[in-house]
């Protein structure tokens, strides 16, 4: 069955489906709606009523929040095996951000009623969703503290390391961040300007910590970057 292949390929280690038998996982996925989007398409728009939560099967989503004066903040990237819009659907509110695809993206969406029923049918799913939500909260708390208390260089180094951990791919010359990430996006993600990001990335490139061409960032020396982010 194609669905099983997707489960295997995309996320043998998916947190969302961890500890759930394949038969049940298939049922969970089948009770949602599959959607396939091209690169740069919008899965949901900030401000629209939040009817569905989504699990990314493959591809990636960028969550963008627009604030006053039209500035964009990138809240998070959602990769294969990760969920989004759980809170807004449960709270029956609007989507707090816009989800845009990076590369061809396949996802499954469930409405609130179906999700609640699935959680009753499969208690391990509920545990997994709770764990995911707690991890997200933890990450947000840390990032908030970083924003308030830390220098911008540390914020950027931690952001890069976070993204590397989530979407890194090992290669000869270092760990590649496996999707196009522009300086503007990095600035939006860390709450600073593209000028600051460019200046800092250039410094790190001279030190040999990273390599960056166009929108591709390669972490050549993660150890130095980690030391830098821990000890300013």
């Amino acid at each position: 069955m194609i669905l099983n292949a997707i489960i295997e390929d995309s996320f043998g280690q998916s947190d969302f489906l961890s500890g759930i038998a394949e038969l049940h996982a298939t049922d969970i996925l089948n009770r949602g709606n599959r959607i396939r989007l091209k690169s740069g398409q919008i899965l949901f728009q900030q401000g629209d009523p939040a009817h569905k939560s989504f699990l990314v099967l493959n591809g990636r989503l960028k969550l963008i929040k627009l604030h006053e004066e039209g500035k964009e903040a990138i809240l998070r990237y959602i990769g294969p095996g990760e969920m989004t819009a759980i809170i807004s659907v449960f709270k029956e509110k609007e989507y707090p951000a816009t989800a845009e695809t990076i590369g061809i993206t396949e996802a499954v969406g469930w409405d609130k009623q179906t999700m609640v029923q699935l959680m009753l049918d499969y208690p391990p799913l509920t545990v997994n969703m709770l764990r995911c939500t707690i991890n997200r909260l933890d990450e947000l708390q840390n990032r908030y503290l970083e924003n308030c208390t830390e220098q911008v260089e540390q914020r950027i180094s931690r952001a890069l390391l976070r993204i590397m951990k989530q979407s890194g791919r090992r290669a000869e010359d270092g760990i590649h961040i496996d999707f196009p990430l522009s300086r503007q996006e990095l600035a939006d993600y860390t709450g600073t300007t593209v000028y600051t990001v460019s200046r800092i990335l250039s410094t790190w490139e001279k030190k040999g910590w990273i390599k960056s061409k166009r929108e591709q960032i390669i972490i050549c020396d993660p150890h130095s970057l980690v030391l830098f982010s821990e000890h300013p």
Partner: protein
């Protein structure tokens, strides 16, 4: 003697042998919880932290046997 593959990543090692954590901490190595855990091999980590791979493997074996 327990065979330790220098090409093992830190993540794999800690999954197989959680007790090795103590060794990293005692040696003041930042590997536990490091974002590069899934990518760095024992060989690389030894080099980065200024020891030899044999030295590191011996320390790991020692921690596992306790």
């Amino acid at each position: 003697m327990l065979k330790i593959d220098p090409e093992t990543t830190i993540q794999e090692l800690l999954k197989q042998h959680p007790c090795a954590t103590v060794m990293f901490i005692a040696r003041r190595m930042l590997c536990v919880g490091c974002p590069a855990q899934a990518f760095h091999t024992l060989e690389e980590v030894a080099r980065i932290h200024g020891s030899t791979i044999d030295d590191l493997c011996a320390a790991i074996r020692d921690a596992i046997s306790k």
